[in-house]
């Protein structure tokens, strides 16, 4: 999946696959997580958020199932 770099204190890059509704997040420590069943609107909100790291923490981390890649 192609990830776009974002400017954030702890997130390095974010990618999204609309076919499988998978959000992929690379953190600054190098770990990559995939979040499942994330709607595209949530991804768009994430990309517009003033703080990407905070948005992930409050809206994604506990709301979607995930797997570490």
């Amino acid at each position: 999946m192609n990830r776009t770099p974002v400017s954030s204190s702890n997130v390095a890059s974010v990618g999204y696959d609309p076919n499988t509704l998978t959000l992929e997040v690379e953190f600054k420590d190098g770990s990559v997580y995939q979040y499942f069943d994330v709607p595209e609107t949530v991804y768009q909100e994430l990309m517009r958020a003033s703080s990407v790291g905070q948005f992930i923490h409050s809206n994604i981390r506990n709301n979607y199932r995930y797997a570490k890649v």
């Binding site: 509704l21 998978t22 995939q34 499942f36 069943d37 506990n62 709301n63 199932r65 797997a67």
Partner: protein, 622 residues
């Protein structure tokens, strides 16, 4: 003997198997009478006989007139219209029988003769041989039956091609009636894949009919294809689980394997042990249980986080009776989970399952609820019905009963009427059907029930719909396997199509016998001509001008290419494929009938029940 009445002319030019004959100046072109029979001289597709010593060579007239003049002579003899071009096809001893192929060639000056009915009988006739069936009469000599060698016809495969309305279905029906003659071939075994449900009427008393939404009052039997008989790949193709990524797919394979293993432990099955079982082995397992357990694995919520989750931590809601709402496996009703919370003492977490297949699970839920797919996912006596008390419940019947009902029934022909199968899975389903039967007969090839002792003929109707070139679907794959390997295991195919150009050329070229009916489209014609081994383009140029019911048969099942008129079956044996009448002289229908009171409520009822004959709702109005 230039004054023999059959004398036509002399050979003037030999090029391989193509020879040119100059008609004798005294030969009348037109009608000749020999032994009281009239013969037309120089008809395309008619035969000539060339005597050389003790052998007679036989050839087919492919061109007549000025164009048939050998190129070198065209300038010298511009008016050379009295020429015949002939393709040699075989030879016969003066007394012996006719053989394909030429051992010696004619040379200049050899006499060419008209072929009389007596000669034709020698070539074609052996009506008494038990391995020949009659399909009609020669178009050129109606007293001579057109005979087909059924050994070659079935094991070397065949194709019936022709434009809509040229008489394909009638030809197939007529062939099937001859092949299933209980007096001659009591153990005949034929399976017809009938896409449009045309053959009920024609073969009613000879055939068992299997149909989705069967009308059992008319003797039809329900068609079931148990999903667990499919290989894993086939199963994935007909469910929403197609196109999973590698990790998710591996997990699914493992899950199916576990279920099959549990089933095998619950009931041993002959021929397979726990060690030899694979995920593709046809062992019953419940797809409803697979769905239910995947749902609980992926969609459940838990009172513990990630790695600490187990069955006991599942946060299932309690119903009004205080019992957990576990849902229902066969009712395709998932458990109710408590929603996740973001804090507090009884915090509820999402499942930590690492599979990204939630949407596929949801789609499977609606698939299993869709009654149109019940023939596959709730296959009657072959459906395991797990309950919470008995998760490893086994189906009432095993596959042997299914195979027996298809190829071991009382009647020689089995019609699998696929007209009620949803189009989206039709192609895969045909592939599965062929594969199942082929596998069964393949592995049983040394048994009396197997294909070598009791061969099976597959009739693939409307083959262009599922055997087209470039279609890598299961149907194409399975059919290719039959035409390539079927001969060794006693499985033959008869491919019936109106668009031969759309059929995979590999499949068409493996068909040893070709029944070509009228074909107007040039692309179709060139495809058919290209697959025929004989040098018979002249004969195939007749294809656009054939009459309805007239067929050119070439290939292995006939000694010589022959043009025949197929016997029209009796009125009660006609396939249900004739065109509706726009102008009906009897005024039973069509646009010339007086308008009648119509009831569109019953139109809607048929549409909703998806059943043109009966109704799926026995309680409803008839």
């Amino acid at each position: 003997m230039p004054n023999s009445p059959t004398y036509l002319g002399t050979v003037q030019d030999v090029q391989g198997a193509t020879i040119s004959i100059a008609l004798d100046k005294d030969t009348v072109s037109g009608l000749a009478f020999i032994d009281g029979h009239g013969y037309r001289i120089g008809q395309i597709g008619s035969f000539v006989r060339i005597s050389i010593g003790f052998t007679d060579l036989f050839g087919i007239v492919s061109q007549v007139g000025a164009g048939a003049v050998p190129e070198a002579l065209a300038k010298v003899e511009p008016y050379g219209y009295r020429w015949l071009k002939v393709q040699l096809v075989g030879e016969g001893q003066r007394s012996g029988e006719f053989k394909r192929g030429i051992s010696q060639y004619p040379t200049i000056g050899d006499e060419a003769h008209l072929v009389t009915e007596q000669d034709l009988t020698r070539i074609y006739g052996r009506p008494d041989a038990p391995n020949f069936v009659r399909v009609g009469n020669l178009a050129s000599a109606e007293s001579i039956p057109a005979l087909i060698d059924i050994d070659r016809l079935i094991t070397r495969h065949s194709a019936v091609v022709g434009t809509t309305g040229a008489g394909k279905s009638t030809t197939v029906a007529s062939l099937l009636v001859s092949l299933s003659d209980p007096g001659r071939y009591p153990s005949a075994r034929i399976i017809v894949l009938d896409i449009h449900g045309e053959y009920h009427a024609a073969l009613n008393d000879r055939a068992t009919i299997f149909r989705v939404n069967a009308d059992e009052t008319h003797g039809e039997q329900p068609l079931f294809i148990p999903y667990w008989a499919l290989s894993l790949d086939e199963l994935l193709r007909v469910t929403p689980f197609r196109g999973l990524n590698d990790a998710d797919r591996a997990a699914l394979v493992e899950k199916v394997k576990q279920l099959k293993l549990a089933s095998l432990q619950a009931q041993a099955r002959n021929g397979v042990t726990i060690d030899t079982m694979t995920v593709d082995t046809p062992i019953p397992f419940s797809i409803h249980r697979l769905w239910y357990e995947l749902h609980r694995y992926v969609c459940a919520t838990h009172t513990a986080q990630g790695a600490n989750q187990c069955d006991a931590t599942e946060a299932i809601e309690q119903g009004s009776n205080g019992q957990p709402m576990l849902g229902d496996i066969m009712g395709v009703n998932p458990p109710r989970y408590r929603p996740i919370t973001s804090g507090g003492p009884n915090r509820v977490y999402l499942s930590g399952a690492l599979l990204n297949i939630r949407r596929q699970i949801m789609a499977t839920e609606s698939l299993l609820r869709d009654t149109r797919y019940d023939f596959m996912f709730r296959p009657g006596p072959w459906c395991p019905n797990p309950t919470f008390q008995n998760l490893d419940a086994q189906p009432a019947q095993d596959l042997d009963a299914l195979i027996k009902s298809w190829v071991g029934g009382d009647k020689p022909i089995t019609i699998l009427d696929l007209s009620g199968v949803p189009v989206s899975i039709l192609l895969d389903l045909i592939g599965v059907l062929i594969r199942l039967l082929f596998d069964a007969l393949f592995w049983a090839r040394y048994l009396p029930e197997g294909g070598r002792t009791r061969p099976l003929l597959f009739v693939l109707e409307e083959a262009h719909a599922y055997l087209n070139a470039g279609n890598e679907g299961a149907a194409s794959f399975a059919a290719r396997r039959i035409v390539k390997e079927g001969r060794k295991y006693g499985v033959g195919a008869m491919i019936v199509s109106q668009r031969p150009a759309e059929i995979d050329p590999t499949i068409l070229s493996q068909c040893g016998t070709m029944f070509a009916m009228r074909l107007a489209n040039a692309t179709d014609r060139s495809h058919v001509t290209g697959t025929v081994s004989d040098n018979l383009e002249g004969l195939f140029n007749m294809l656009p001008a054939l009459r309805t019911g007239e067929v050119i048969i070439v290939g292995e099942a006939v000694h010589l290419p022959l043009r025949a008129l197929i016997d029209a079956p009796a009125k009660n044996r006609r396939p249900d494929s004739h065109d509706p009448k726009i102008y009906d002289p009897d005024a039973n229908g069509g646009w010339n009938r007086q308008k009648q009171a119509e009831n569109y409520a019953r139109v809607l009822e048929k549409w909703r029940s998806e059943n043109p004959r009966g109704t799926n709702n026995p309680g409803g109005n008839p």
